[in-house]
């Protein structure tokens, strides 16, 4: 196996995991909501992609009848007519992609409202159980209700075409150039998620979520609407999970199957955040990079052993990674950072000093504050 192609595939996988991890970090990390239903919100992206490819794009853009995955004739019609028609034009594959990520986000946000409704006012444990059950229901529903993605048959999806990007960037459309373009695109998306998450977090809103997480009674006594804050964080995190879910099926798998969204996906994503650092966006990305590496490496090594259990080696390795994290760095590789707002500039001006944990951040770049004090 060629090291470059290993690296490129690995980076693509890690990027998809990073998207999922950032979403988990918003509701679990900042707001302290044990979102055990993450798999259902990711599934929303899969549902969106399936609906867009079978029912939205064919009549709207291709002047073709929509396809119904529960019909016997589905595969001949969808695989034989619709898919070739979409993939004939790279632009159309991107239109499918863009509609799918938006719709995935919206469906996931809707799921968040519905699934959390019964328990958002109760204690966290009830919310965790309600969300876990929701993930189980969505998964089983998709398996038995065939009109959405055809049950467990695995439906092929039109992946967005990276040929034009590869041609523009590398003047080549070789498979490795295409893979590299894909990895770059995915990391660009991680950048967008990261930018959004950092901005949302370093604001009074981010501070309020921490108050609700740290002590909900004090938060309520000091004017925070706890149920609403929880719901809002669940909605934004789920929107991102829906977007990431559409990316997951369209780019990572190029297909969709309810079993991609089994409830244990939630705990895989949770692992990325626990190892990387709860409450730290960069930490979540590092967790994704590390776990993806362990996953790929132990899978390749495990299957090369020739034992029947070799392909399960990665479960042991990841279990070990969680244990080591808990014992060595209980807050994860990168612990949570303080919330940064202009209030700290005022603090520095009035007090003539900066707190030690912000000194570095404020001295760099924009937050130049004349403190009238020599650096110690």
């Amino acid at each position: 196996m060629n090291i470059i192609s290993f690296l490129v595939t690995y980076l693509s996988v890690a990027a998809v995991y990073a998207l999922l991890a950032i979403s988990m970090n918003i509701d679990y990390g900042w707001a302290g909501i044990p979102d055990f239903g993450k798999a259902a919100f990711i599934a929303a992206g899969g549902i969106a992609a399936a609906i867009v490819a079978t029912r939205i794009v064919p009549p709207l853009m291709l002047h073709m009848h929509p396809a119904n995955p529960s019909k016997l004739s589905f595969f001949t019609y969808y695989n034989g007519k619709i898919l070739p028609a979409i993939t004939a034009h790279p632009i159309d594959t991107w239109i499918v992609f863009i509609i799918s990520i938006l719709l995935g986000g919206i469906i996931a946000a809707g799921f968040a409202v519905i699934f959390s409704y019964p328990a958002i006012r109760l204690k966290e444990d009830y919310l965790a159980i309600a969300l876990l059950m929701a993930a189980q229901i969505v998964w089983l529903f998709l398996r038995v209700y065939t009109p959405i993605m055809g049950g467990t048959m695995s439906m092929t999806l039109p992946s967005p075409s990276f040929k034009p990007i590869a041609r523009a960037l590398f003047h080549s459309t070789s498979p490795s150039a295409i893979d590299a373009a894909k990895a770059l695109f995915l990391w660009g998306l991680v950048g967008v998620f990261l930018y959004y998450a950092e901005k949302q977090m370093n604001s009074p809103f981010g501070r309020m979520l921490r108050m609700v997480r740290d002590d909900e009674y004090a938060a309520a006594a000091l004017g925070k609407n706890v149920a609403r804050a929880r719901l809002e964080s669940l909605i934004v995190a789920s929107f991102l999970a829906g977007v990431a879910g559409a990316v997951y099926v369209l780019i990572h798998f190029s297909s969709v199957n309810p079993d991609y969204f089994m409830p244990d996906l939630t705990f895989f994503v949770l692992t990325l955040v626990l190892v990387g650092g709860v409450g730290n966006n960069i930490g979540s990305i590092i967790g994704a990079l590390l776990i993806a590496l362990l996953y790929r490496a132990s899978y390749i090594f495990g299957t090369s052993l020739g034992f029947s259990w070799g392909s399960y080696l990665y479960y042991m390795i990841i279990g070990l990674a969680i244990l080591i994290t808990i014992f060595v760095r209980p807050n994860g590789i990168l612990p949570e950072k303080p919330v940064r707002t202009p209030a700290w500039d005022v603090y520095a001006l009035v007090r003539g000093k900066q707190p030690w944990f912000l000194r570095r951040i404020l001295m760099r770049g924009r937050g130049k504050v004349n403190t009238g004090e020599k650096s110690e």
Binding site: K199, G206, M208, M211, D214, A218, L222, V236, A343
Partner: protein, 256 residues
């Protein structure tokens, strides 16, 4: 037109039960605007439960609570806060991942940047945030927390946490504060300073206080009026010097 009465808080025959326990069993009391009223009574007499009921954490089984001319019975805590009635906790509840400064700052009312969408547009909240930061520093200085204001909240002493509770309530633009044992764990010198501060807030800003406190020798020097609770009921009331002489109060405190 809202009727503004002289009594800013009226508790009318309030009951709160836990199963068979009648923690608050028909309490009525009135707190005049701009006064400092004490609420005393032995442990387990229902003072904290009464505070929890007034501040919206519990719904009363029976009775009515009026604040500033409005019926607030059954309103959720964050709505009661918005009306200007703010409580502190007997066992301090601080936000552990935030500094003392942020604990105070984050308690401010009507922060634009707490709106999920506006939070993304820095310009909509940055100037308000700066204004509030100055105010937070003022209350930190007022409560004497300046030396520890960049510490994370769990790193300060128990007494400082009690002061932090008060600073947060002041930051919330309170008209009236319900203080649950504000001087517990605070050393006597600091405790007198704290009560001196309370008196200044009353005279300079017209704030109203209802204070639960076990250290009667300090409390009685500052309050206008005292209610005595025992087994969920008000058993005595009056000016501090009257209550101090009241044999019923002596019986309760000595006999239990």
């Amino acid at each position: 037109m809202r009727k503004v009465s002289d009594e800013v808080l009226i508790v009318d025959n309030v009951h709160k039960y836990f199963g068979g326990i009648r923690a608050v069993d028909g309490v009525s009391l009135k707190v005049p605007r701009g006064s400092i009223v004490g609420l005393i009574g032995p442990n387990g007499s229902g003072k904290t439960t009464l505070f929890n009921t007034i501040s919206g954490f519990y719904k009363p089984n029976k009775g009515r609570i009026m604040f500033d001319g409005r019926d607030i019975t059954g309103l959720p805590p964050h709505r009661i806060y918005k009306l200007g009635l703010i409580r502190t906790f007997q066992n301090p509840r601080v936000w552990r991942s935030l500094t003392v400064f942020e604990n105070v700052l984050g308690s401010a009312k009507d922060q634009r940047g707490e709106n999920m969408l506006l939070a993304m547009i820095h310009a909509t909240w940055a100037s308000q945030e700066k204004k509030l930061a100055k105010e937070a520093l003022h209350w930190i200085d007022f409560t004497g927390l300046a030396p520890v204001d960049t510490r994370f909240a769990p790193e300060i002493s128990g007494g400082q946490m009690k002061l932090l509770e008060v600073a947060r309530a002041l930051m919330g633009s309170a008209k009236m504060l319900l203080l649950d044992e504000p001087a517990a764990g605070v050393n006597p010198v600091m405790a007198r300073k704290l009560f001196g501060g309370i008196e200044r807030l009353r005279s300079e800003m017209g704030l109203t206080f209802l204070i639960v406190e076990h250290r009667l020798e300090i409390l009685f020097d500052y309050v206008d009026y005292v209610y005595v609770m025992h087994r969920g009921r008000i058993v005595a009331e009056g000016k501090p010097e009257e209550v101090a002489e009241n044999p019923v109060v002596h019986d309760i405190y000595l006999g239990g």
